[in-house]
Symmetry: none
Subunit: 414 residues, 2 copies
Amino acid sequence: MNAEIIAVGSELLTPHRIDTNSLFLTDQLNSLGVEVVSKCVVGDDRDRLAEAVHRAVARSQIVILTGGLGPTEDDVTRDAVALALDRKLIFHAEISEQLEQRFAQMKRKMAEVNKRQALIIQGAAILPNDRGTAPGQWIDEADVSILLLPGPPHELQAMFTRQCLPRLERRVPRQVIRTLQLRVAGMPESDLDQLISPVYKKYDNPVTKILANAREIQVHVRARCSTEAEAVTLLAEVGGPIELLLGDRIYSRNGDTLESVVGGMLRKQAAMLAVAESCTGGMLSERITSVPGSSDYFLGGLVTYSPRLKAERLGVPEETLAKAGAVSRETAEAMATGERRRTGAHYGVSITGVAGPGSGGESAPVGTVYIGVADAAGCQVNHRQFLGDRARVRMFATTMALDLLRRKCMLVAG
Amino acid sequence: MNAEIIAVGSELLTPHRIDTNSLFLTDQLNSLGVEVVSKCVVGDDRDRLAEAVHRAVARSQIVILTGGLGPTEDDVTRDAVALALDRKLIFHAEISEQLEQRFAQMKRKMAEVNKRQALIIQGAAILPNDRGTAPGQWIDEADVSILLLPGPPHELQAMFTRQCLPRLERRVPRQVIRTLQLRVAGMPESDLDQLISPVYKKYDNPVTKILANAREIQVHVRARCSTEAEAVTLLAEVGGPIELLLGDRIYSRNGDTLESVVGGMLRKQAAMLAVAESCTGGMLSERITSVPGSSDYFLGGLVTYSPRLKAERLGVPEETLAKAGAVSRETAEAMATGERRRTGAHYGVSITGVAGPGSGGESAPVGTVYIGVADAAGCQVNHRQFLGDRARVRMFATTMALDLLRRKCMLVAG
């Protein structure tokens, strides 16, 4: 069974935007054993879109359109699909009323154009949208299912997971795709590949992929079999040796992020954390608090961008700042221990470095980062030289800080 | 004159990879006045790719294929285009010899499969590749130019810029695309559309688009004309009234982000900023410091996740926390004024709220946010109720805080 994805929107045909919804949808479809055989981007052009839908319906069993369901004249998906399938558009008064209520809840009056969102293709099932105004639509035409989904990722993802997946599961013949997903820290991508490629290169199935960015490295091992048991066996055969080679560099096997893994460890130890950042400017705190419930283990953080605040708020000695410099092993240690002492946290973590592009008067080169992790036993400082632009250096540094804290927590868990 | 881009490769149909070459190519083509009307991703499937090429050639004047030129069986682009155009593939011995020399230079023996890269479509011009092994190919078929380019971005970009652009410039009739790009804050997308659509709806050219996410709203007005002067006039005709209607909600006309605009205003005033965040957990600091050189105007920030730290580090009275609560107008005011006083900054900005999904024991509903902006004249607190998940509420809140600070700075500049 094959699927095609058509992303709608002229902005996706500019140099400034890219369709990423198809990555989510592909992942979901693959989990059902459905392959995506083509992806297309079409602008806000009704006739061109209708033509693309017409072709897709003729050759694939699942056709998913994303975007173009908004209230404006630009939003042509409803019209184009109606045209391609030769069906009428029907105004649903109850959807229009629900939209008006939604606006009323936000203490706003609904603009007249929003009524266009209550137009439903004849025979379509309506997919309610609890995160936005545009309802989705599901049409079965002979053997083909055509799905119209909203463009904003959080709306699309909720609608697909809750309403489309269960319907698709009933339609799709049994085939199993199982993926082992390892998340790894503390090692560059090329070293990792050199380490594990002798294992995975011998296999066409499962397919092994290494995906890396500044935030994290993932290893995906993907088996496609006719039964669950076969897939599990195949994954064990290839995944087992890979896991052994990577050892404790693996922090997650279930898609959990590094920040949530570290959070879970802190919660288990009932240990509180406080952080002090310089060059990462709040990114470490931001990543830690991106996890719901992080107030259980996170007291707070300091962004000491100016040297004066490092002295005043963390008690970094003026002498250390003057002699060793704001970007130094000594300052990182004083920041981590100072933050720990002043907040009464179990763990104090610090980052100081030069994110670039300018060196900001520091003697250290761009990409230099010192990370301190302090606990009752003392403070350990790690130094690293990262390559990349400002955003990448900051991301690398916060990932490394989280990983060092994870390793410290592992020792406790022992 | 229209173009289509076809990215070739089954890896681009997985959840893990995305075609980004098309962004580069679109930018280059737009600079010539050529619109990209469709983008497609096709897997390593000769017949399916041949069909896609056949269709593209029938409706566009420029068809660019990227990838699939490697040495392996998977690399089907050459075969597929030859099939679609009904032309032969011809082995070029001199290309094969150049490839062998290239391998010899790297002290490696060329594998036999690499000879496939010396297969050239009948009548094609050869585009040498000085950064990799696969040569590109350029075919003119009636009015259509078909370009076969290598997949690796650095190979593709060098080949396109040096060899394809000069050829295209000779083919393309002079045409100019100019874009007015407005960034807007302080107004929901649908209200904005209702405000400006009476202006832009009357025009097919320029095309006006509203692009919105939790971080920002952009309005793009894009004119396509045969002369620069015409394009400028047309943009003024449509953009002028739109700018008037949006007024000071526009913070940037050149693509600058809100954080860099605010930074520029602070630098101009020689005013220092400090922030205190609760529910946004460092995101406000992180956004401010994402701008290079932000240490010129940013002293630092506090993430006071625990109520105790709000009292200790900001001097929020225990009584305020107990009576009004951590998420309240009173606490937001005490945070902003406390942070300003304690750091000696000109401006103190605070955010306190409930990002969700849980309410964390707060009496306020999820999405409630209070933002304080303090200066020498006092503190102004704004309250807002945002809709969305944790990540969106945090992004909305930081965008609003930056915008409120911008408005405060505008009064000074006044």
